[in-house]
Symmetry: C2
Subunit: 340 residues, 2 copies
């Protein structure tokens, strides 16, 4: 299964048999409302805290995906889940509700593809009949933990990004119809010494470029082998930096080919600074939008490169720079043509 130095090729081509995506009101007013199966007009979803609200988002994303796949929680052997909050509180509490055997993952905003890659491996090696991988974020829970209380009204520079209130789940299985996960590249930590937590996109761009270049080498492919290469949340600052870095490595990725989930989720009229971010961003955009676009546009193969900034509020306070990572997954059409 290992191909090259840090990649996996799944010859059995595990299937994403269903997905579930849940968003908040700001996402409903965004550029991709159709990407969400469930949209809430209340960021609290009736809960007493943002953290408990995010837990509900995770539960709903998983339940929605299972319902679409006509599965119960009993049919799914394992749940791979992660988020940005301390001790993965929303993921762990959702695992309590769902009662699916649970493995917690942390890759910051790269968690979505870390989960998809490990989940596809489990299905490939018949360690599971069905696995669900889910990643989530909640704007207000993240602000509260990483930045300032929203009520404080702290100003942000234009390089900042807006953490999405979203959860995205994918159910993987060994056969049937649906998009196929055919490969993955696991990133290593890249830290170019940037330390500004209000410019995550710039900090993460070298990690994205590193993983993408490694992916091409490991699979002996070029950008032309893909219909779309999309990063997780590099935003307006990070995406052009990643493009330049890849150019330096000899890979030309033009604007049609190379995009970013963080630049797709919201409208230009929404005040999201340099774009969207959060584990829920790449998960919801990939599972709720890109998989449908593959069918609509006739795309054969895309590469989703989820990008994560592995800082903590404490590491920032201790004057550390930001270690970043990117994990990539290859998704191919099975030629069937159907919406999730």
């Amino acid at each position: 299964m290992l191909i090259g130095k840090q990649s996996w090729q799944y010859t059995s081509r595990p299937v994403i048999c269903a997905t579930g995506t849940v968003g908040g009101p700001f996402e409903a007013a965004g550029a991709l409302p159709q990407a969400f199966d469930v949209l809430h007009d209340d960021i609290w979803v009736g809960q007493e805290s943002f953290e408990k609200a995010q837990t509900v988002f995770v539960e709903e994303a998983v339940k929605t995906a299972l319902k679409k796949a006509s599965l119960t929680t009993d049919d799914v052997q394992f749940m791979l889940a992660g988020d940005l909050l301390n001790q993965l509180t929303p993921s762990s509490f959702a695992a309590r509700t769902l009662q699916i055997p649970y493995m917690g993952l942390f890759g910051a905003c790269a968690t979505s593809m870390e989960g998809l890659a490990i989940g596809a491996m489990m299905v490939h090696t018949q360690a599971a009949e069905h696995v669900v991988a889910v990643a989530s974020s909640h704007h207000s829970a993240t602000e509260k933990q990483f930045r300032y209380p929203t009520e404080y009204g702290g100003q942000k520079p234009p390089t900042a990004q807006w953490t999405a209130t979203a959860a995205g789940a994918a159910v993987l299985t060994g056969s049937g119809q649906g998009p196929r996960v055919t490969g993955a590249t696991i990133g290593r930590v890249v830290d170019m010494g940037m330390s500004d937590p209000f410019n995550m996109g710039g900090a993460m761009a070298p990690a994205a470029a590193d993983t993408i270049a490694r992916h091409f080498t490991d699979f002996n492919r070029t950008p032309e082998d893909y219909d779309l290469i999309v990063t997780g949340d590099l935003g307006q600052i990070g995406l052009p930096v990643a493009r330049d870095l890849l150019k330096q490595k000899g890979y030309m990725l033009d604007h049609d080919l190379f995009g970013d989930c963080g630049l797709m989720l919201y409208k230009a009229s929404q005040s999201v600074f340099a774009g969207a971010s959060g584990p829920g961003c790449s998960a919801a955009v990939t599972y709720g939008h890109l998989l449908n676009e593959m069918t609509k546009q006739g795309w054969q193969r895309i590469l989703v490169v989820a990008t994560g900034a592995l800082l903590s509020p404490l590491s920032y306070q201790q004057k550390e720079s930001i270690p970043c990572i990117a994990h990539a997954a290859v998704i191919e059409t099975d030629g069937g043509g159907h919406h999730l």
Copy 2:
């Protein structure tokens, strides 16, 4: 590879080809100093913060294991690492130093066996030639984050546990000599409504019993099929509760057969209340002590059941009870007889 409902059987019997364990001064003065390859007399190990010190522990555990296996970081495709701190700060920063492609895991004190189980799957399915799984904790970093600053001098009840300052790493590969990982059972979240963070052992005992009983069912085995069954850190309160719960489920585990890493690490004269805890506890005791005991005692097969309390300071403040989990791995001798 899936066996029963939530277990894996690795028919290729991945090998633990080397381990590395690092401890602090309190561990050096404990009951198992010989379990550690490296013992520091300074909990800061020359660093400016406890978090940075813990990062050094992770790095040293991995480097020690690699050195013993005559491997470089380039020979290891993936590092599976986790700890208790927010955003896995020590694991992520160690991954930056080590430059091994990195997947972050969170299972609180169950992280050690979550990593060993996923790592063994990677080797089994030839997704890696070598994988390193590492789990760590630092007493003072944990106190600061989860409880009170040590300087505050807060008193603890006798049900509290002492987070170990320790890191344990295991390098897995497909062939050669060494103990074999032959199976695993991934836990589900069990929460019996306990909410006292100073009685983690009591809270985690039902999760341990759930995973152990599920393990016996999935593998169609009984306690007699093991030379030792050891939990991660149930301590003096949790272990007898787990024993009682297993008795109710029809499994008699007597005192010789059923132990706890948290009751092995320190001396009775050390003021650790109900015992040791932390992801580094089960990792160091398993990799540094139990694997050697297998050879010394002629044990054929042991079951290590790492136990985790998935609470966060925030979930406690929000009056939530403690969701708990336990992940188990089966380790068997290859009959060779050698020390790690």
